[in-house]
Symmetry: C2
Subunit: 310 residues, 2 copies
């Protein structure tokens, strides 16, 4: 195989009570990437559409992730990467994760799959480190593995994939304002109350149990975040309004996607998900903030091969 | 039915990363209770063996729990309760929970089961409130429901029962020193670091996932507590020694049972559980502290009826 074209999905991290540990994979929005095997060694970013991103390999998240993988496997050939961004940078739905994951997934395929999807997470994290300053797995894991992913811990990296209940759909609205991940980190408090932490891990336990047992009521009862959301939601226009309206219209839960500004809901059934999208649209249409809304099942697969050529 | 004899099992709460939310039910140690329907209204504690506990209904945890249930259902008859304690008070394996749960379970049976086992938890919690000053469910829930129980939250009470993997066994050592629950509460810090909290809920998510998927390796990787154990374990003689030896001898994990002084381990297979018991015995035999060791499967049923009479 000499070239491969991929669909690299958007992802939602920080799922309410699962701050920093729980993410999920979307299916209706994602980047496209084309990776060619080349005679020339090394990694080059040869084309970028849809966004203004650096072409230098070491400054590009896809480039950095690719180099991390190629540190482990020596080749006497190289790779050209084309990136066609559909996920806007800074949207909070894993734009950098899609690029980083796509690069390592595609190169791994062109190399004959020396690594499993799970093993690729560690390389994709190097791209995330370039984007946000920290090696986190909560977007790259669902992008690579699909479904829900729990990052149990980092020493060593331990990612658990959890199948999504089949009727679960996400609705995500991206208000197109700028919110820097680094700034959203600063609003967090280094200490939290033990009482809140216990509530949070009770809810996370409930959410994980709800996912395994396909218990939508339990999922609904568990989708809360009393620690991070109160600190970050004031930076997101209309968050409280959107959340209230979404819950009133049948969403199981609502939270900040990643570090925002996107807001996600989880819903039982596509009809409810579409209904919530309609309500979000009504609320944002009145503002002068441009926005996009995505309705998506939780994608079971993660990155997909669109086609490949010899 | 006019009288019922029950086995009221001991329980382990605060299972490592599941502080205040996750408990489990033992099968090899528990109290016996006999409850008789009487013509005289009200609840009387008529006999107590094995421990020196109050006979006044309002000062006895079984009595208080029974009265809480009977507030909801009026009867023109009453109940006499005999309590035969096998679980030592202050052992950290749910002595008060066994009494409170047994009382409400037995009376519910004699009334023709107006409440489900899950509904009985709220009444049993009233007994716990008398014992420890707070209405907590993390021992009464596993005593009543068996298996593992997750208390997702209290407003309203939301208890989730989780089946135990079939090869999971607990080994529990009770060093017979006095540790007051109230004093062990005082050593806790009201604030914890966000970083530790995230580690803890990552581990709790992993543990719940491990229980559903019967993944013993994942259970092992998840059985950590970096928040409470470091504060409480110094009060428990030989805790570090016991933990180290247990883990070296195959235990999946080790922690403080409830607020101590009992120490529990979870193990895959009864042979490992017995081996860990042997090692614990070796270590404590050298001290002058009296102790008891229990090896038990995780009981799937909770409180059991030994016999009943018309």
């Amino acid at each position: 195989m000499n070239s491969i074209k991929l669909f690299c999905p958007a992802t939602v991290a920080n799922i309410c009570c699962g701050f920093d540990v729980l993410g999920l994979c979307l299916s209706t929005i994602g980047d496209e990437m084309i990776i060619h095997k080349t005679q020339e060694k090394g990694v080059r970013i040869t084309k970028i559409t849809g966004d203004d991103l650096p072409f230098e390999t070491e400054r590009n998240v896809a480039g950095v992730a690719a180099l991390a993988l190629l540190k482990e496997i020596k080749t006497d050939f190289g790779f050209d990467i084309e990136i066609h961004k559909k996920i806007k940078a800074g949207s909070g739905i894993g734009s950098s994760a899609a690029s980083a994951s796509g690069a390592v997934f595609g190169i791994n395929e062109l190399l004959g799959k020396p690594f499993s999807r799970k093993e690729l997470v560690q390389f994709a994290m190097k791209g995330e480190a370039l984007a946000s300053g920290s090696e986190h797995a909560d977007n790259v894991a669902p992008a690579l593995l699909g479904g829900f992913t729990l990052v149990r811990g980092y020493n060593p990296l331990d990612v658990i994939r959890i199948e999504s209940p089949s009727e679960l759909y996400a609705t995500v609205i991206h208000p197109q304002i700028e919110l820097k991940t680094s700034e959203m980190r600063v609003v967090l408090k280094p200490e939290i109350s033990l009482k809140s932490a216990i509530s949070q891990w009770g809810n996370l336990g409930g959410l994980i149990a709800g996912l395994y047992t396909e218990d939508y009521d339990l999922i609904q009862r568990s989708l809360h975040d009393e620690i991070i959301e109160p600190l970050r939601s004031p930076f997101i226009p209309n968050f409280d309004l959107i959340k209230k309206a979404a819950l009133e219209n049948g969403a199981l839960g609502c939270g900040i996607s990643g570090s925002g500004p996107s807001i996600f809901t989880l819903n039982k059934g596509i009809e409810t998900a579409k209904n919530v999208a309609f309500v979000m649209n009504e609320l944002f249409y009145k503002t002068d903030i441009p926005f996009e809304i995505h309705v998506s099942k939780i994608d079971p697969q993660g990155i997909q091969i669109i086609n490949q050529e010899n």
